[in-house]
């Protein structure tokens, strides 16, 4: 009986699919100022494709991730998206926000899912149901993290934030403020970090003049590291009273900050300490391909995105038939918006109307360039 069922279901998948290969375009910034990030996002997607193909492909057919370079350029991104929507079933990207804003309206107009797995809920939700958010709303997910961080220290009465005005970051700072308010911690006048800042001494002096007990850094990795170095050089000693936000948790933080980061806390979705066979293998292969570095923040996002596409195609019986393009695009959109028990690389999660409902987040403490888990926050 089991054999019959297996034969029928296998045969069903085989005969329905009309494509010889699934092609998934990935609109990514492979050149330009964030090419380094684009590279490891692409690596994650390609790695997933290799793994899927080695295990028999999607519904029996191999998958190919087609890199589409948008070069961090909205002009190029829009033309590339216009090409992609012509006949693609589903896509991934774009990356990052300016290209998302220029290109995603094209995907929406043509009713094609393009998974934007690196941006915040506030951007992704503008394009529902033709994308999903990889993160819960900022005002829901960040306050518990900041509360958990601040509650560790009874002496924390006043906190100052350094905020770089880029995309969703001021909104993330607002979410931190909400948490501080809920704990009756006084938030001092925020220090704006200009996008083109090269020296940080004056900014740090202005912050220290307010005599804060804690510091939250909402700026890019390099700037965060330099501010921490400045704080330390001016006598700041309570290093775990510094919290770095997730977007700054990448290679430049560690390469620039070095040993001065010891004790600093950081929050993120990525937990290198989790162990499962897939994630362990991913870490090893990532390190091999990246000079021994462990996966950076966001590294698994497009790995998971491709698996989510695989699951949607297989579970909804999508065939890849160009005549059914509109209908099958809708099937994928409906499926991924409410996928349940999705087996991600690090953990399983559910989606409700395009928003993840139960992804864990973590607070780490940095010691000798490595992150040590302080606590998990759900």
């Amino acid at each position: 009986m089991l054999l019959v069922l297996m034969t029928v279901s296998f045969g069903f998948g085989q005969t329905n699919v009309v494509v010889s290969e699934w092609r998934v375009p990935f609109l990514n910034s492979l050149t330009g100022s964030i090419a380094a990030i684009g590279e490891f996002l692409q690596w994650g997607a390609n790695y997933a494709a290799d793994e899927i193909n080695a295990a028999g492909g999607i519904a029996g057919k191999p998958v190919k991730v087609v890199p589409v370079d948008t070069a961090l350029d909205p002009q190029k991104g829009s033309v590339e998206m216009a090409r992609v929507v012509k006949d693609s079933l589903v896509a991934m990207g774009p990356v990052p926000e300016p290209v998302i804003m220029a290109a995603m309206p094209i995907a929406v107009e043509n009713q094609m899912v393009s998974i934007t797995a690196t941006t915040s809920y506030e951007y992704a939700s503008q394009f529902f149901p033709w994308t999903v958010s990889w993160f819960p709303p900022t005002l829901d997910r960040l306050p518990p993290l900041v509360v958990a961080w601040a509650k560790q220290f009874g002496d924390m009465k006043q906190v100052v934030q350094f905020i770089e005005p880029y995309g969703p970051w001021p909104g993330m700072a607002d979410a931190h403020s909400k948490a501080l308010k809920s704990l009756n911690i006084k938030e001092q006048k925020a220090i704006e970090v200009p996008s083109d800042a090269v020296t940080f001494g004056p900014l740090v002096v202005r912050a220290l003049d307010q005599k804060p007990d804690g510091v939250i850094l909402v700026c890019n990795a390099e700037k965060a590291a330099k501010i921490i170095k400045e704080l330390k050089s001016r006598g700041w000693s309570k290093m775990n009273h510094i919290l770095v936000f997730s977007s700054a948790d990448d290679a430049q933080l560690y390469s620039t900050g070095g040993m001065d980061l010891n004790g600093v806390q950081v929050y993120n979705y990525l937990n290198l300490d989790i162990s499962n066979p897939r994630w362990d293998k991913f870490k090893v292969e990532f390190a091999k391909a990246h000079n021994g570095n462990m996966p950076f923040s966001l590294s698994p996002n497009y790995y998971d995105a491709l698996y989510m596409i695989k699951e949607a195609i297989e579970k909804t019986g999508v065939t890849g038939d160009p005549k059914k393009l509109k209908e099958e695009r809708k099937k994928i959109a409906d499926y991924i918006a409410n996928v349940k028990g999705f087996k991600g690389l690090l953990f399983d999660w559910d989606m409700k109307d395009g928003v993840p409902t139960n992804k864990p987040t973590y607070i780490f403490e940095i010691q000798n360039g490595k992150k040590q888990l302080v606590q998990e926050v759900r």
Binding site: Q75, P98, I106, N110, P165, G167
Partner: protein
Amino acid sequence: MPLSLYYYLSIAAVNILMSWALYVPYRVTQLHFITIANMMISGYLAGYLVLHVHVPFVWALLIGFAVGGIIGYVVSLFIGDAPTFAVVIVGFTFIYITRTVVENLSIVGGTMGMFGLPNIGGNPVAHRWIILGILYGLVVLCGFLIHRFDHSSIGRAASAIFVDKELASSLGIDIKKLGMLVQTFSCTLAGGVGVLYGFIYKSFHLDFFGFALIGVYMTVLFVGGYSTQWGPLLAAPILYGVPLFFPPAVQSWRIVIYGVMLILVLVLKPEGFITRKSVYSIGLALSRKRGKVIRS
């Protein structure tokens, strides 16, 4: 019309118009980068008016032109006859100031940007045709105006200023007045184009108006040729279009190819591909041909 062709044509038109917005002041040696700030100001203002005040698009567009022109005129009162680098610095400063203001204005979306601009004409197809119609209408109109300008006594006065300001002054040319005229024209144009630029994407983000745009328009101007209006007209679609047709394997070398092309042009043809001489020669050849046809 294929969607990718629409985006290609519309952005090529934006690049032609914005390169002309740089070309016209450069006729009197001024690199007027304030035009990028004008795009931003008028674009965001029109977006706000359409989205939140429900002003019809046509009015928002006209207000965009007007605001660009007013800013250009007021600024030109101070820098109408300023040297090249002073004008460049004013332009950069304006871009910084405008970015900072927009970053801190939550009513236009701040750092997040402005989403969900409506379709003009009620549906996407009409929207695309209207945008293309306006853009290419502007290309024709501005092309005609710039052509008339280049072939008028004012254009010749601009050429004299380009060669030697003091000589031009001694010939009785009012350098400041002419500078004010070209600056106001380019800012007016940039204001309107900024509005259309955002409506192509149906959104606004600060990084749509980044310093990269200066690089794009400068490349178009100097590779195409800064001494005639035809240079930007031909270079904008080619420079924007060629990389789109690179095979994927070559895509990552795009910047290198651009760079090599720029260096080659600067070394081999410093005036750019289309020069006045080449325009004159083509014009002459065409008129001879026309003459032969008439005689026969």
